[in-house]
Structures are given as structure tokens and as C-alpha cells.
Symmetry: D2
Subunit: 320 residues, 4 copies
């Protein structure tokens, strides 16, 4: 059994990670750390887990095989400085502290559809961002095929869980419900990792992504609509996508237009492609907390420990 | 023109009051006071009013005819202590500070369907609570007819705006959306004014109301389902209701079961009645911010100043 | 492996059953029948299952161990008349055709928390209704303890999936969203099975349940608020509940008030109890499609075939 | 008083039109025609109007000054063929039958911000589409200034009321709630009138609009995000917009990013602009049923009859 610890155990992504790992056949959940809830039962925070005996506690790093860090951005690096982790312990970090090349050190960018082989052999993984995952999976095949145009326009619509658990005016139900708004227009922090992914996949440094993130009136899920103008036939482009993802079990290229709830509460990314003249739409849907965060983290753990990539991730879609 | 000031102008009920009064033919909106926003344009808070030139400012009490107080519960009494209001200025308070007989002083309980004549002649009105309005209007005719049973069971489902604008875990979209929960079970603070209303209408002091308030996953509107067991025929009961409300323009007794969105964004209360054996259901729907707060406050102002009761309150329902 | 067939495979409950059974370790999903979709891949209807090769087809009854019937009410009896099922095949019917004693024949009412031992040995199970499950689990312990009062008042709020997949004005998003309404007031068809359950558990034939079903503005989940007036201490009542459900893994008695999303996308029922004077509130939350339908059907299958009762039902809650 | 008739009185846009006109000071609502509801009270369909005595009836065309046609696309032309309307009666048609130059005949395209003077003098108006209104108002100033680039990318997110009142799988609450999907990608029927508007405003015939319409999980409102790449400074572009709309009371150019609920249940269009490098985002929000349909129709009526353009359209925003 893989002995697991979670640092920063009270947030949304930690909650999802716990929900996944309590049913993972190869995992023993040893420590769930939370500064603000030490000693409390985990169901005091993750209230569906009322049937679990797990408690928040400090981590004995000698007694674990892998550490998930689910802290706010900026806090992971600090946590690792203050808590020296033995070299025998693998690390999967869900923040953006180690995603960019300039920050990565020994961390591998944990996109299995880009870096699967590297992830298998590595000690430390920087788990990608939610929007980044959604958009990367729409761009990688075009970049790899050398046909991604420079001008890319993306509208990504996300749910309220993307904003974390701290209540704010932006996540106040009275404001968010039946509403739509944009934020961080053209400047979202995931643009860095998207740009590096495009280049890593074979695309151009000059790729210019106009990304408009939208706050949707739903709780979980992202739909990204990527529009580019290019000449290639739709059939050829679909072949490129299907071929690229043939060996990747969590990415499905659909013959029909996809919609968001197909993948909510699963680790899947569904993609569909539509074309009219030069205009190509690639639609990518993921659950921001699973394929966009904790599910992908488990997928990375599976790869790092030589397990079936889908272990613990065969999840019933909510669907409704 | 009636010169109006609003104290506590930054909250939800003040926002609704401003939206109503900017279009009220007999009102001049002179002062909108807010401690935290003094000097700012009102659209900095009430962002739909971008086309308005109004600014938050202090109130010159010599220059107004009526003061609306839209402060948090407990703060109205304090505000009036600190700000002596000339006797020539009428007061409509939207908090619960003056609703109960023990606290009322010269304040009249501002339920027009119970106290219309008293409201017309008075200087100070305590505007009823939102749940109280919804439930009172379902109980008053039975109490007045002397047939309200002692055991009354009420489920009242309310929107997130009932909880005010401060963001909390209970109003966090991620928690509230697609969810239901109860709160203040059997102990909601409106039970006091409901009990006094029942007695004022002719009911018994022994009336025992089991009130379960429910947080619904919507932003505005209350549906209260009132269940009692009594012997009278449904036709007779419907007659009692229709007769009671014949002269009250904002209460409609529907022949078909009512639903909440019929009244959202209006000042109406719709009622319907259904019976099976001894079991009677009275359903009452209101908009918590309008008939349940700011709309009823304007209705009271209209009565106090001898205007048409409906002036400024002929509102287009959202409906969808 | 248990060889499974599903009749009526295109509806909501069939979809949920398929989603559960594709991941059930002891099941081989052999046949999914649908008159209107014969020969099509199941993902043409259940569109999340794009990665599955299953197709709709006719059933070879000689080649299965258990048949789930997911047809509309009234159609199960007809289906069984037209399709003689070998005596070796067990049957789990999700309609209301066989739930009442008068209709049951050899069918056992499939409430494991009432009839677990009988279900283990039987051939045919009538799977309970969704509202019935939610309300039964709130009433059974009181009935069994002999302290259920005659007058019971229930408000049950359900999601749109309870109304099935046929689009109607009642399930039109424009009408349902941000709305609340009652339906089948005091006359809901589940009252029959609830009444028989109360008696079977030890309660009185005279129990009079005032049941107000409410259409909520959410897709999945039921919250039932059951109000009775009785003298016993809350502590004693909680003991009765905890004791009754101690051996039942899918029912949790919570020390804190429960809310609906704790159980959405799971097979759990969570219960909480609150009391003030004589007034007792029992709150019961279930997922109407899982514990209220397909999940409970799998639970029954597990019992009938001697499997772990929770097999295939350790589901990740959606939670958000 | 302007004597008004509505043909096709049972649909969503007719309902909104009635809600507006019952409170319009210069209008007498004489006839509301509906083939399927003749003789019924209008509140049997538009159920909030329970306090109205209006009934569905046939139209006496000699007794009216203006006819609104609220029929499905294709049916307006047919209705006018079968019902010869006297030359003295003005016509405002809400379908797309007469919007394009090729179909228009004597109909003027009823976009007051493009054609106000022509509308004032005309007999027949073709009221613009909802998406078209939203997108046109974002493009007209750039086209008029001669700086609209050829490649325009638009994501427009609309509510369920845009799909009309007929229940379908796409508007089924179980499917629509908490979901997002695209439809009519790059081929939406409003592209024709948008293209003609761009040219009429001064833009190029070669303008290539990549329009991705998105089904949002809300009932009313459209947010359109228009992305272009151009060199001009943001300040200059904002000046162009503010200058263009200075005389148009229902279009506000906001200094802060706009969001959809600011305009829901009003006749306003709010616009905001953001720029980063060459990338410009214009965000346009409208209520699809008001500025996008019935509200704009009343605005056109006001212009055609020489009334204040805002008469009957000073509406309280729902806001929540």
C-alpha cells in the first residue's frame, strides 16, 4: 500500500483528493494535515465523509511514500522549506509554485498527455492548473502537428469552485447565480504554463493567446472554447486529435459536440471539433477539481508508482 | 414631492428601495447615507444604476419628509438615538428593532393588510420581516375568522438575498447551489412578530407554530407552505380569504396553485389553498426584498402620505 | 460474475444503473434493452459513457442472472407478461407496479433497512420510490419504537430528475430555475408505500401523513422535513435512531443538521433530528436517483446475491 | 392613447410585451390574439398577470394604431398575407422574417442606435434579434470609426428563454442546469443581420465573424464577449464608444467590467472594453427578452409615435 499524506487538508482540492483516495485500492491515507483544524475529524470540514474515522493530524514524513500539497499558491514552496521531506518521499504539488520552467527545479509538469514517460520516473510533480489543463488539451495536438496558428482566441467558462472556499462577493450566491462576468481578461496566471506547454508540444514561442476567463453560474466544471483560423480540412484535424490521444485513457475526442456535464465529477477531458470555412472551434470540457486538480494528481501518483493510470479514477459521472 | 432620505444605503434592501424610488412619481430622493461609502456615486455599490448621478452623502434631517432606515438589526435604535430626527419627519424602519409590542414605542407594525388605517395616520412604521410577511398573510384570515387551529406547521423556503450581502459559507455559491438546508429550526426571530400578528388579527395566544426555515438554491423569493388540520370546507375557507383580501391590491388569492416566480420582482403576495380531508395547505409566495422588505416599505410610505397605495409599485415581474 | 440485463435502458434510472454497474466488480453487463434505441451504442443516450462499447440490444433471458426493469410505472407488469422470465433469473423492478401489498405477489418491498433478511432470500424485489425512501427512513425508527404520533407533516423537496427525462413545462429550465412550487399536494402516489412501511415497522394504521411535495430548482437530491409533536426527550429519540441504523451502512444519523449535497451522487441517506418543546424535526436527505432508485437497486442486488452490501456503491460525492 | 394589438400573444416575447404595456402611460392594450388560447384570460398563460382582466381575442384591425407580431420565425409573413392590415396601422414584427435587406420590403431594421431617424418616420419595423442586438452594439462604433478588423471572434452566452417556451431536451432543467454547451457554431441565423449592420454602420463586407453561441445555465440575459486584434489605444477606443452612444439612453459604456445581471429585466445594454497589447475585448450585456426583443420593440414604438424613447421602459432591474 502506498502511504499518503496531504498537506493543507481543509481546502476544496484536498477534499476531493480525500474523496478519491478513501476508495483507492492501493492507498493508505495516513496523514491529513491542516493548520486550522488539527485534531478535528475530517468530516468537520468535508462533511459528506461522516462515515470516516480520519482525523486531521501532523505528518510523520518518515512514515509516508508520497506527499500531496494542497496549499494556496505561494505556500507550497514555503511549506517545503519549513518541512524537509526525505528523498524517499515523492511529492505532488497542486499549486502553481513549481509549474513554470523558471520555478520548477526537479519538478516535472504533471500533464500526463504531454509528459507521461517523464512523470513515471520522477520524484516531484507540479500538477497543472485547471484552465491550463482544459486549454492545453485543446492545443497540444495542433502544436505537435505544427499547424497551430499564432492567433488563438479562447473563452473559458468556469464554476465557482475554481475560486476556492473563501467566501467573497464574486462567489456570493446572490451575485453569482444567474449571472455571467469576465475576470483577469488576457492576463490569467495560467497563460504562462499554457504558453510553455504549447512550446513543449512543438508550437511557436510567438503563439498569442487571447484568453477571456468567464465566471459561470455553476459550481464545478470548465468549458473552454478555442477558436483559430486555419486551412486544414476538419477530417484531417480530427485525425490528428484522435491519433494523438489514442493511448491516453482520460481524453476522448467526440464525434458530437461535447457539453460540460458529460465530464463533471470524473477525471475525463472530452474534446470536440467543428469547422466552417477557415474557422475552427475546439471545445474542451473538464471537471476543474478532478482532471483540473485532484483527479489529475491521483493520475500522476498512479504513473509515478507504476499503477494502472485509471486506478481509483473510474468515477460515476454526476451527469445531472 | 416627498423628500426622502435613506440611512444605511449600501445594503440589499436600500438598493431595492433606491431602484423603486428613482421611478416613483411623487418622490425626490435627497440623501442616501452610508458610513462606508460616503461621497461615492451610488452605482459604485448598486452597479445597475450606472445612469444615475446620485451620491452617498450625509442626511440633512431638516430637508426631508421621510426617513427610511435600512440598517442591520439592532442598529436602527442606535441610529435614532445618535441622530435626533425632527418630529416633522416620518420614519419607516426596515429592521426588527421596533416590530414587537415591547419595543414599539410610537411605531406601528407596518403590515397594510392588518393595520392599514393605523399606518395612514402614523408617524413611525416598523416594516415587517420577510418570512413574517409571507406567513402572516397566510394566517391572518383564519385568525380573523376564529378558525385557526393551535397546531400550525410551516416550511418556508427562502433565497440567498435573505441572508444579506456579507459573504459567508452559507451564501457561498459552491455550497448553496443545487443544495437545500434548514436553519434556525423552530426558533427563527420572526416567530415573535408572527405570533403577535395572529393575536392582533383575532387568533389565540396559544397558537403553536412549528416553523422550519429552509435555505433554497435561488436568490430572491420566499414560498411558505402552511399546513393545518381543520374541519371547515375548502370553499368556505377560500371565501374567507377572498373576502378578507378583497380591498388589498397586493394580495391575490389564486384559484390555481401558486408558484414563487409569479411574484418575484413585484410587490405582490399570491396565495393558494388546497385541502384533502382535514389537511389544509396554504401556500404564500412573496419577493423577500419587495413585499418582504423595500416594496412594502414604499407601500407604507404611500399610505402614510395619502398616495395611491400602488404608486411606484407597478413592477414588471421577472417571471423567468 | 453476475450476468445482468436492464429492460428500459434509455431512461434516467437505467442510465444511473449502467454508470454504477460498469464499475461493479462482480457484474457483467450483458444486455441493455431499449425499444426506441435498439442497436445504438449506449453513449448515444447516456452521453458520458463515450468510452464504453456497450450497445442497446434485446435480452437473452437464458443468459442472465438478474433483470433490472427501469420502465415507466405500469409498464413493468406488462413487460413481465409479455416476456416470461425463467425462474432462475432474479428480478429487481424500479417501478411502483409491485410495491404495494395488493400488487406484490412474490415481490418483496426492497427497503434494506426494513426488510434486509427477506431481501437476501428472495427472487423478486420491488425497489422503493424516491420520496418513499427518504420519508420511510425518517419514520421507521419512531414507528418501530411505538412513538410515532398520528399526525405527521412532511415537506419533501425534490429535483427535476425526479420528473423523468420527458421535457415538460414543469421541467422547462425557464420555468423551473430560481422557482419553487408544490404538486400532488396530500395525494402523492408514494403515500401508499409509506403508509404500509409505517405499519410494517410497527406503527399505526391511523397514521395521517400530510405530505407536501415541492419542486426545487436543482436537478438531483431530495430533502424531506418531517415534523411531529411528541413528548420524548431528543436524546432518547436520537438513541432510538442510532440504535436502529447501527447495522445499516448507508444510513448515517448526524449530530449536526444535515443538508442535501452531502449525499448527492452517493447511495447514502443522512438524517438529523432537532427538537424544541414538543416539536420534533427529522431531516432526511437522499439522492433520488441513487438511494432513491438505482443505487438502492444495486444494494438490493448485492443482498440478493450474498455480496458485500456496499459493493459498487462506494461513490465519490459530487459535494459541489 | 395608442391602441395596441399583439398577434401571437401566448409566447415569451408576447408575455414580456404585455408586462411592459400594461404599465405604459400612453398605451391602451386592445387585443391580444392567440390561436390556441382564444377567449381565455391572459393570466391562464402569463400567470403573474392574475390581477388583469385582459382576455385573448381576435384583432379588429380598424380599431388599432399599432400591431406587434410575436410569432415564430416564418409565421409573420404568413400572418400578414392572411390578415391585410390597414395602411393606417403601424407594424412592429419581432421575428426574423423582415430583418434582412432581401426580405425587408418597407420594413426598417429596428435598431434605434443605428437607425433612429428612419424608425421615427416609418410604418413598419423589423425588430432585431437578441444575439444580434448584443453583438451589433459592440461592433457598430468600431465599424462607424472605420477600425473594425476583418477577423472578429465572438462568444455569446444566452439563457434558456432564448430558446422559447416549447420544452425540449436542450431546455430540460436536468440537462441545462449546471451545464454549458455550444450550438449553431459559426452558423447562427443572426449572423446575417449582424453582417448587414456592420456594413450599414460603415464596416467592411469582408468582416468575418467567428460566432460561438453558448447555452448558459440561466434563464434570461446574454453576455457577448467580442475579441478583435487592433492597434488603437484603449482610451481612443473608449472615446469612440462613449461618443457614439452619448445620445442613446439605453446604451451605457461602463468604466468597470460589466456583468450580465446589471441589465437583467431592463432595456439597457451595458458595454465595457479591456485591452492588452493588440487584443481588445468588448463585453456587451443585454436582457434577451427586453433590449433583445420586447423592450426594444416598445422603444421602437415610442420612436414611431413621437414619444419619449424611454416611456414605459424605466424598469427596476432584478439585479439578484
Amino acid at each position: 500500500m502506498i502511504r499518503v499524506a496531504i498537506a493543507g487538508g481543509a481546502g476544496y482540492t484536498a477534499g476531493e483528493l480525500i474523496r478519491l483516495l478513501v476508495n483507492h485500492s492501493a492507498v493508505e491515507l495516513k496523514y491529513i494535515q491542516s493548520g486550522s483544524h488539527d485534531g478535528e475529524p475530517i468530516y468537520s470540514v468535508h462533511t459528506d465523509l461522516i462515515y470516516s474515522d480520519l482525523k486531521f493530524s501532523n505528518i510523520d514524513f518518515e512514515d509516508i511514500d508520497v506527499l500531496f500539497i494542497c496549499m494556496g499558491h505561494g505556500n507550497s514552496a514555503k511549506f517545503l522549506e519549513e518541512n524537509p521531506v526525505p528523498a524517499s518521499v515523492k511529492i505532488i504539488d497542486l499549486s502553481n509554485d513549481f509549474r513554470l520552467k523558471a520555478d520548477a527545479g526537479e519538478f516535472i509538469y504533471g500533464a500526463p498527455e504531454l509528459n507521461r514517460e517523464q512523470i513515471k520516473g520522477c520524484r516531484c510533480v507540479a500538477n497543472p492548473g485547471c484552465f491550463a489543463t482544459s486549454i492545453n488539451l485543446a492545443l497540444i495536438p495542433l502544436a505537435a502537428a505544427g499547424i497551430l496558428p499564432e492567433d488563438v482566441t479562447v473563452t473559458g467558462i468556469t464554476g465557482s469552485t475554481g475560486a476556492g472556499q473563501k467566501p467573497t462577493q464574486d462567489t456570493h450566491f446572490s451575485n453569482r447565480n444567474a449571472n455571467l462576468s469576465n475576470y483577469k481578461v488576457f492576463t490569467h496566471q495560467h497563460l504562462g504554463e499554457i504558453g510553455e506547454t504549447v512550446v513543449a508540444a512543438g508550437g511557436s514561442e510567438a503563439t498569442d493567446i487571447a484568453f477571456v476567463p468567464v465566471r459561470g453560474c455553476h459550481a464545478r466544471g470548465i468549458m473552454s472554447d478555442v477558436v483559430v483560423r486555419l486551412e486544414e480540412d476538419l477530417d484531417k484535424i480530427i485525425d490528428i486529435f484522435k491519433s494523438y490521444y489514442a493511448s491516453h485513457p482520460f481524453v476522448c475526442v467526440s464525434d458530437k459536440p461535447v457539453y460540460m456535464k458529460q465530464v463533471v465529477n470524473t477525471n475525463y477531458c472530452f474534446l470536440s471539433l467543428q469547422k466552417e470555412g477557415r474557422k475552427l472551434l475546439i471545445t474542451s470540457v473538464v471537471d476543474n477539481l478532478l482532471k483540473g486538480a485532484s483527479g489529475q494528481a491521483v493520475q500522476n501518483m498512479n504513473l509515478m508508482f507504476g499503477l494502472d493510470e485509471m486506478e481509483g479514477l473510474r468515477l460515476k459521472a454526476s451527469y445531472f
